[in-house]
Symmetry: C2
Subunit: 257 residues, 2 copies
């Protein structure tokens, strides 16, 4: 892996990119996953490469929803495993969620690599890819509709990230609440999810975990109130406004520069 | 390659992505090139996935600059070869430019693949990777500083795309005029270039060619006037304003939806 100077203004972003390319070389991440990372990078850049207020509010609502859930599941793909396997295991532990591997571009080998990365990060049990234990999501085609009967299929709340819009919509149609981590406030996933955390995955996953830790002593009524008060459409609108404002700001700097 | 329904609203973008993944599988494109494509896709989406007025104006200035050049060179990387090899050959023919392969993540094998793709697209002569015919750009490290003595090194105008900012700056310091195709109006390359065409590469390259064809009968004085009247800083500012305006527009739709 290349080294990036400590003082480089975009060091964190470049390190994340390197981690993903390393995951690609290990067979965790696929080519389309690299392109998806690039799209995310661009949006993160436009959002200021920081956790904005609307993302913090969404993380609070997401944490409350996960803590209230009967059977929450964190759905993990190759990019997530390459970038934050350990943080996923910690979050699942904090909210009592199961972990399931679910890949859009699925091969048995890649499922196995992702399972292995999660196990190495401390996961005791990883669902997904069981074969006979899998069932199909209605109205979805291709391999991505296969989910674990004991995991996503029977979950009431699913946390997912960097997800295909059709699959997110299918989960919502099945009556599940969906927490999505997605940097594009306009994506089909962002718009279909119950709670969208518009933030970079390596900041968002620990952010939700910290929010959950802070809510550990809250009673169910308070948690329900937090979920009820959350408006996803407004959150996405705030994210778009932030991008617009940053563009105007940078545009002005350019004019003066 | 997967098929994309004719009616899919983002068909062109998805087809381009597939072409790049195919280029990756053929060894033309590297992992970092896929991530770069993703960043570009996000900006293209924010720019409306169309050739905007500021890109048309920049293409006119770029065409005039290439036609006025004593020794223009088109610098080609893996993404460009995978996405528009034929269009590059046609543009080079239209303005009398040389073609040179220049890769950021350079391996002899990938240089050879890119040369081959350009030859298959009709290029008679491709510079770059000659070994003894190469010299080094001052003040630049790593393999990317190697350029062809008969090509970029002695060029007065270089057209490049999806380029590293430090390398663009080094070319400008060497006194060259640089035409950059870059979807991010804030990138170091966009800001260092003499003329930046903020547009997607498969639209920008034919766009510059059409502009050059339209200027074929213009005299040198008219061409010089076109170059003189062009203001790159204003062009980039217009691109940023377009993104800001689109964000506000989409943000409003979200609020009403």
């Amino acid at each position: 892996m290349e080294t990036v100077p400590e003082a480089h203004p975009r060091r964190k972003s470049i390190m994340t990119r390197h981690a993903l390319v390393a995951g690609f070389e290990k067979g965790l991440v696929c080519g389309q996953g690299l392109i998806a990372q690039g799209r995310g990078e661009a949006f993160d850049y436009l959002l200021g490469e920081e956790t904005n207020d609307f993302a913090k509010d969404a993380s609070e609502a997401a944490a409350a929803m996960l803590l209230l859930a009967r059977s929450p599941v964190v759905s993990v793909n190759g990019n997530m495993a390459a970038l934050c396997a350990r943080e996923i295991v910690l979050l699942a532990g904090e909210v009592g969620a199961k972990i399931e591997v679910n890949l859009f571009y699925r091969t048995d080998e890649r499922v196995e690599r992702v399972r292995q990365a999660l196990s190495e990060a401390g996961a005791k049990r990883v669902l997904g890819g069981e074969g006979r234990g899998e069932v199909k999501i209605p109205e979805l085609f291709s391999e991505r509709r296969r989910v674990s009967r004991k995991g996503i299929y029977s979950a009431d709340v699913v946390l997912l990230a960097l997800e295909d819009g059709d699959r997110t919509k299918a989960l919502v149609r099945m009556g599940k609440k969906v927490v999505a981590v997605d940097l594009n406030p306009l994506s089909a996933t962002s718009q279909a999810a119950t709670v969208t955390v518009v933030d970079e995955i390596t900041r968002a996953i620990p952010g939700i975990r910290f929010a959950a830790a802070g809510l550990r002593r809250a009673n169910r009524k308070a948690l329900r109130e937090k979920v009820r008060a959350f408006d996803n459409r407004k959150t996405l609108s705030r994210a778009l406004k932030r991008i617009g404002a940053r563009m105007r700001e940078l545009s002005g700097e350019l004019g003066r520069g």
